[in-house]
């Protein structure tokens, strides 16, 4: 009978989606970089494999939709906390339909679905940082105030604080949770500024793990039975300095996961899955 905020990081299921063939050419990106589709698919396969085989999560794999080049980044389509799933309204027009498959999958999993029907609201899951105690929502080009309000409504138990985001796509483009009360944060000015805001807004004091590279600050934390703290993070090949920082987390099971191609289309590690903790009781 876990109460509020217990078991942060414990997940049983993950929803992922295959890489669309159109990713390489049509996926949105802030920098116009060339993406090697095959490599991207390989990366993604490995990512899914880690979740499924190494970590033992039940993985729901959604098929790709060629009309949705960004569909692999499922995180933006839904925010799941507890047994409630908020189906978002992505800020990018071209991604709105990504939520349909996600909604179906989450409904299938028995979650309470909350939809964002307000036409004025936009929210990308990538702008939502759940710390286990509260939400921070980045107000970015993809996420607006109204979207954040609806999120606050969907998760009434938690404080939802807004963080203005500048010069970055998403809030989680430079931060994520690396453990209970541990925020991984990039070193850029934008990242540090956002961190300051979050620290000021929170009643709780978080520890921070500062990483030289903003992109490396996006990692996936889980706390799994039998495995303890698990962290999926960047590889030394991509970000050698940041990888060293992660390696100092002695208590974590560290799993470097390559994300070299997807990052070109602004896809970070957290973007590629929606993690769910499905309990028996609640």
């Amino acid at each position: 009978m876990a109460g509020l905020m217990s078991g942060f990081g414990s997940f049983t299921h993950a929803v992922v989606r295959a890489v669309s063939q159109s990713l390489a050419k049509e996926a949105l990106r802030t920098d116009s970089l060339e993406v090697d589709l095959l490599k991207a698919q390989e990366e993604h396969d490995e990512y899914v494999s880690v979740l499924k085989h190494r970590l033992g999560l039940e993985v729901v794999e959604l098929p790709a939709d060629e009309a949705l080049p960004d569909c692999v980044f499922v995180e933006d389509a839904a925010v799941v906390c507890g047994d409630t799933a908020l189906i978002t309204r992505p800020g990018a027009e071209s991604r709105r339909k990504e939520t349909e498959a996600m909604k179906a999958a989450l409904t299938e999993l028995g979650l309470n679905i909350v939809e964002m029907t307000d036409e004025s609201a936009t929210l990308d899951g990538g702008d939502v940082l759940f710390t286990g105690r509260e939400f921070f929502v980045g107000l970015s080009k993809r996420t607006n105030q109204r979207g954040a309000e609806i999120l606050a409504d969907a998760f009434k138990d938690y404080t939802v604080s807004t963080v203005p985001i500048q010069d970055r796509l998403h809030l989680k483009s430079f931060c994520s949770m690396a453990g209970p009360d541990l925020i991984a944060i990039g070193s850029s000015e934008a990242a540090q500024k956002a961190l300051k805001i979050m620290q000021q807004m929170s009643d709780h004091k978080y520890d921070k793990l500062t990483l030289p590279d903003d992109l490396a600050a996006n990692c996936v934390y889980m706390n799994l039975p039998g495995k303890g703290d698990v962290l999926l993070h960047c590889t030394p090949e991509e970000f050698p300095e940041s990888a060293k920082v992660f390696e100092m987390l002695k208590d974590h099971m560290l799993i470097p996961v390559s994300n070299h191609e997807k990052v070109k289309v602004d896809g970070a590690l957290t973007c590629c899955s929606v993690l769910i903790n499905k309990k028996k009781n609640i």
Binding site: T84, R133, E149, K156, D157, V160, Q200
Partner: protein
């Protein structure tokens, strides 16, 4: 008569207790000793009475700190009319109350014990106070009788109530202890008790020959379980009397988290200020109250007793059901299931069919689905005890994002609708349910309000040079004041956690009269650790009732904060609307208040950790505040010989002593009152070292207080007490300085409290007062001019205050001071620099001022002040005055080490300023005016030998009643060869004679003396 005896014995007990705490502990447990006492005391009532008196006096002195000994009461006190003295005794009683901070140092232990063992006592005190006030109003023929009556009555009430009176008469004490818990358990019985009690009281009173007509009023209190508690109180009883009655009824010891609220005329929920008369607060509203949680403990598991947790649960269930505390479906279900487990026990498949919960309300919008979920979860709690269930309930509820957040509607500077949320950690800003900013208490330097604006001054960040001020627009002035009060209270309760400085902390009050007079969380926690009683039995009544009786809290959609906020439930805004009377009136009353406030700043918001330790020391001083101020102003005045100086010093120290012994008035805030009203007052204040100006504009009193430095040195004082020698004083200064690291200046408006400020620590000197303050400045200046005219002598102070730009001064002064304090033990001239520098401009005259005595007297709401040279005395009286505070200001310009600021350095004269306020218990109520209509106002000045009397008469019409307030400011100027005290006493006497139909509300004595100098 039996009853009487019983009560008396109790009284004695109390008296005895004070001296020896240890014994007290035993008392509760052992009824025998008590009974023995009774027998002893079973003597004619007269004897008992006299005995009481004797006993009473010792009590106060017994505590080590206060230990001055009553003999010391020389100074003015000897000349004071009986009622004044009485007050002291009252005040003594007060300390015992939890709410009263003054004695706490020494008394603390005692208190706690008392609380532990005998709540009754506390209540008695409270009751006593209430009674006292009532009595005060009426003229007392025999001091003795009165005192007895006061003490006895309350006690009796308590005693009686505690026990079921019926049988209790013979052996009240025993019954109390033993029967208490049992009796209370049964509400029905309680009711009976009450009924019985009333007659008893009446009889008792008559027996005592109390010739006061006590008008009793029946108060209806809605308890958290939805039941009604009725209680008869004197019409003039103060809030805490009723509150204690309720707590007793509930058998609640950890009561500091709770409060009573009522709806004002605007249907706004207001907290009943325990220190003020109920009647004045509720005004025309009904005597209908709600008992509820005022401070939500962040960690309920730290509460000591299950009954406290249970009550908190009840409150939260209300909050949840009404939508004030939003939560998700799952959480509704989970919390609901714990409620069922706590109230119904294990799920019984046979007995508990699905509809067994239909009477419960778990959520604002309860669905069948939710109920099913609740039942499902309920089944899983099998075996959990009610206490465990409550604990689980709280563990989950406390994590909810809006737990303990008191919401207020507001607009930001751009007119956007936002919500201000006051909570344990600070101030939260919401916009449409989203948190958009947060200001933790340590981040906040000052909180103030003016008209309908609420401001917070923010400590500069690492990279920032200046502090910034953020302003919010509230719907109206009252709302602004309410937020401000809630902030002050929360800051005090949660932030100022220093178990050892209990008293002061309570007094954080900011400028206005308003103060949080209760214990801080830290204090209450500590007190709770001493609770040593078997777990009281209490019945968990079905929360079904709750749902039906949600009083006041409109059922709001869960998601809608704003509405919830509107309900006012979440954060009961303390609205001391009663406090505010007509603005003008207020002004008059509050003349000094500001200064006081600033002084009281001990409590103030400071925020840095560093401040904490120092605060403690301050706190100890209870009642006494010593200001170290740098007076650049005082330039000349070399006239006085060393001897004179010494003399003054001596008298001052004597006064100090007497005060300390006498009665630590828990509320330093009294100052506020003083400051307010009359210009003279304000002047005085300034003289004291805190410059406060209250300009009245268009009948709206606005007060700006500039606090220079407030240092309270209790220890020092103690040491000094008997040696009038100047040296001693110096020492004090030094110490003081050291102690004072934090500064806060609280400025509050007068009763009307058009504006108030609350300074946390002024970190750095930045004159970033900005817009907000600018207004004040202008007004202030105006005021000054007006004020100045009245008394020549006063001019000094006035000039000082006036000249400094109000706003600028405030901040400047504050900042410098702070710095100085922090850095240097001694008050440096620099501090004064800004504010004082201004003063310096005022020049020559000022010197004289130093020697003045001011006495403001307030008659029936009018305060008059008398100022004496060197020894300014202000006396405001209208009802039996209670000694509230003593302030001693030592200005030491020389000491100033930091001269940077002192652009205008001037010859420095050391001066000591002392301000003592005697105040009628009920004053507060009076002072706070409700908004009334000002009818007339006039000022008359007359002079005689060495006294200058300024009379300010204000007539106000409020609520159909016209109130005339006379404030007299008497300045007694003279060398030490004049007996100022006597002169003052005479002045008071005359004032009384002049207005036989009026009562004295407050007497503020402000003495200013030159100190012997140590030249650096």
């Amino acid at each position: 008569m039996t009853t009487e005896v019983g009560s008396e014995s109790n009284v004695k007990k109390e008296a005895e207790k004070a001296p020896e705490v240890q014994q007290q502990t035993n008392q509760p447990d052992k009824p025998d000793p008590a009974s023995a006492e009774q027998t002893q005391e079973e003597s004619p009532s007269t004897e008992a009475e006299s005995g009481q008196e004797a006993a009473a006096s010792p009590e106060p002195s017994s505590p080590p700190p206060a230990a001055g000994g009553q003999k010391k009461e020389k100074g003015i006190s000897r000349f004071l009319p009986p009622w004044l003295k009485r007050q002291k005794s009252q005040s003594q009683d007060k300390p015992s109350e939890s709410s009263v901070p003054p004695k706490q140092e020494s008394v603390e232990a005692v208190k706690e014990e008392q609380e532990e063992t005998s709540q009754p006592k506390e209540e008695a005190d409270g009751g006593g106070a209430g009674t006292a006030s009532t009595e005060q109003t009426e003229e007392v023929k025999e001091v003795r009788e009165e005192s007895t009556a006061e003490e006895v009555q309350p006690e009796e009430k308590e005693t009686e109530e505690e026990k079921s009176i019926g049988s209790a008469d013979t052996q009240p004490v025993r019954e109390e202890k033993e029967g208490e818990s049992e009796v209370k358990q049964e509400k029905e019985e309680t009711t009976k008790e009450e009924e019985q009690v009333i007659p008893h009281e009446a009889s008792v009173l008559s027996a005592l020959k109390v010739n006061k007509k006590m008008k009793m009023v029946v108060c209806h209190v809605t308890l958290l379980d939805g039941s009604q508690f009725s209680c008869e109180v004197e019409k003039r009883a103060k809030g805490h009397y009723l509150f204690f009655q309720v707590c007793e009824q509930l058998n609640l010891l950890e009561k500091d988290y709770f409060g009573l609220s009522f709806k004002d005329n605007a249907e706004q929920r207001c907290w009943l200020d325990p220190t003020k008369e109920i009647k004045r607060q509720i005004r025309n509203s009904q005597w209908q109250f709600a008992f509820s949680v005022k401070f939500y403990p962040p960690d309920p598991s730290q509460l000591t007793e299950d009954i406290t947790r249970y009550l908190l649960c009840l409150q939260l269930r209300q909050d949840i059901a009404s939508g004030r505390l939003p939560c998700s479906f799952v959480t509704h279900a989970l919390l609901g299931s714990y409620t069922l487990q706590a109230e119904l026990g294990d799920h019984d498949p046979e007995e508990h069919r699905l509809d067994y919960i239909s009477d419960f309300q778990f959520a604002p919008n309860q669905t069948k689905e939710l109920e099913e979920k609740v039942v499902e979860l309920h089944k899983s709690h099998r075996g959990m005890t009610p206490a465990q269930s409550d604990a689980q309930f709280l563990e989950n509820a406390k994590k909810l994002s809006m737990y303990g957040v008191d919401l207020h509607h507001a607009k930001d500077s751009e007119g956007v609708d936002i919500m201000l949320g006051v909570c344990a950690n600070g101030l939260l800003i919401y916009k449409d349910r989203l948190r958009i900013n947060r200001f933790a208490w340590p981040k906040i330097l000052k909180i103030s309000y003016k008209r309908s604006n609420f401001y917070i001054k923010i400590r500069p960040g690492e990279a920032e040079q200046f502090e910034s001020t953020v302003g919010f627009k509230l719907p109206n002035h009252r709302a602004a004041k309410r937020v401000w009060k809630v902030c002050v209270e929360h800051h005090t309760f949660f932030r100022l956690v220093s178990p050892e400085q209990p008293t002061k902390t309570k007094f954080l009050t900011l400028g206005s009269k308003f103060r949080y007079s209760g214990r801080t969380q830290a204090q209450t926690r500590q007190a709770s650790t001493l609770i040593d009683r078997p777990t009281p039995y209490f019945q968990r009544t079905s929360s079904k009732r709750i749902s039906r009786s949600l009083d006041g809290a409109p059922v709001v959609n869960v998601s809608d904060y704003s509405q919830a906020a509107g309900a006012g439930e979440n954060g009961p805004a303390l609205e001391l609307s009663s406090d505010s009377k007509s603005p003008q009136v207020e002004v008059m009353e509050k003349p000094n208040a500001d200064a006081a406030t600033s002084i009281s700043s001990e409590t103030a918001f400071e925020t840095d950790g560093a401040g904490a330790p120092e605060r403690k020391s301050k706190l100890r001083v209870q009642g006494e505040n010593i200001y170290v101020r740098h007076s650049n102003l005082m330039l000349e005045d070399l006239d006085k010989t060393q001897e004179d100086v010494l003399k003054h010093q001596a008298s001052i120290s004597e006064l100090k002593r007497s005060f300390m012994e006498a009665t630590p008035d828990p509320r330093p805030s009294q100052w506020d009152k003083r400051l307010t009203g009359s210009p003279a007052t304000s002047l005085r204040l300034q003289a004291q070292g805190s410059a406060e100006v209250k300009p009245e504009v268009n009948g709206q009193p606005e007060v700006i207080e500039v606090m220079e430095e407030t240092v309270v040195i209790e220890e020092v004082i103690k040491a000094k007490p008997k040696s009038p020698a100047p040296e001693a004083s110096f020492t004090a200064e030094t110490e003081c300085a050291a102690e004072v690291k934090e500064e806060r200046s609280l400025s509050s408006d007068s009763e009307s409290e058009e504006e108030a400020e609350y300074h946390a620590q002024p970190p750095s000197t930045s004159i970033s007062t900005q817009q907000i303050k600018e207004e004040p400045e202008e007004e202030q200046e105006a005021v000054l001019t007006q004020q100045a005219p009245p008394s020549g002598v006063e001019s000094q102070p006035i000039t000082e205050a006036a000249e400094p730009g109000p706003a600028a001064e405030e901040e400047k002064a504050a900042q410098p001071h702070e710095k100085e304090r922090t850095d240097e033990p001694l008050a440096t001239p620099d501090e004064a620099p800004n504010g004082h520098a201004l003063q310096a401009e005022a020049p020559p005259t000022l010197r004289t001022a130093a020697a003045e005595k001011e006495e403001p007297h307030i008659v029936n709401g009018s305060a008059s002040r008398v100022e004496t040279e060197h020894l300014p005395q202000v006396i405001c009286y209208s009802e039996p005055p209670v000694v509230k505070t003593e302030m001693v200001t030592i200005s030491d310009t020389f000491a100033a080490q930091k001269t940077e600021i002192s652009t205008k350095e001037v010859p420095i004269v050391h001066t000591e300023t002392k301000t003592i306020t005697y105040e009628a218990a009920q004053l507060d109520g009076n002072g706070d005016g409700e908004p009334g209509v000002l009818m007339t106002a006039q000022t008359i000045t007359s002079e005689s030998l060495c006294t200058t009397t300024t009379t300010h008469i204000t007539k106000t019409l409020k609520g159909g009643l016209s109130e005339t307030r006379i404030e007299k400011r008497i300045v007694i100027t003279g060398d030490s060869d004049i007996d100022h005290d006597q002169a003052l006493a005479q002045a008071i006497k005359e004032a009384k004679e002049q207005h036989p139909d009026m009562s004295v509300t407050r007497v503020v004595v402000h003495k200013e003396t030159e100190l012997a100098e140590d030249e650096d």
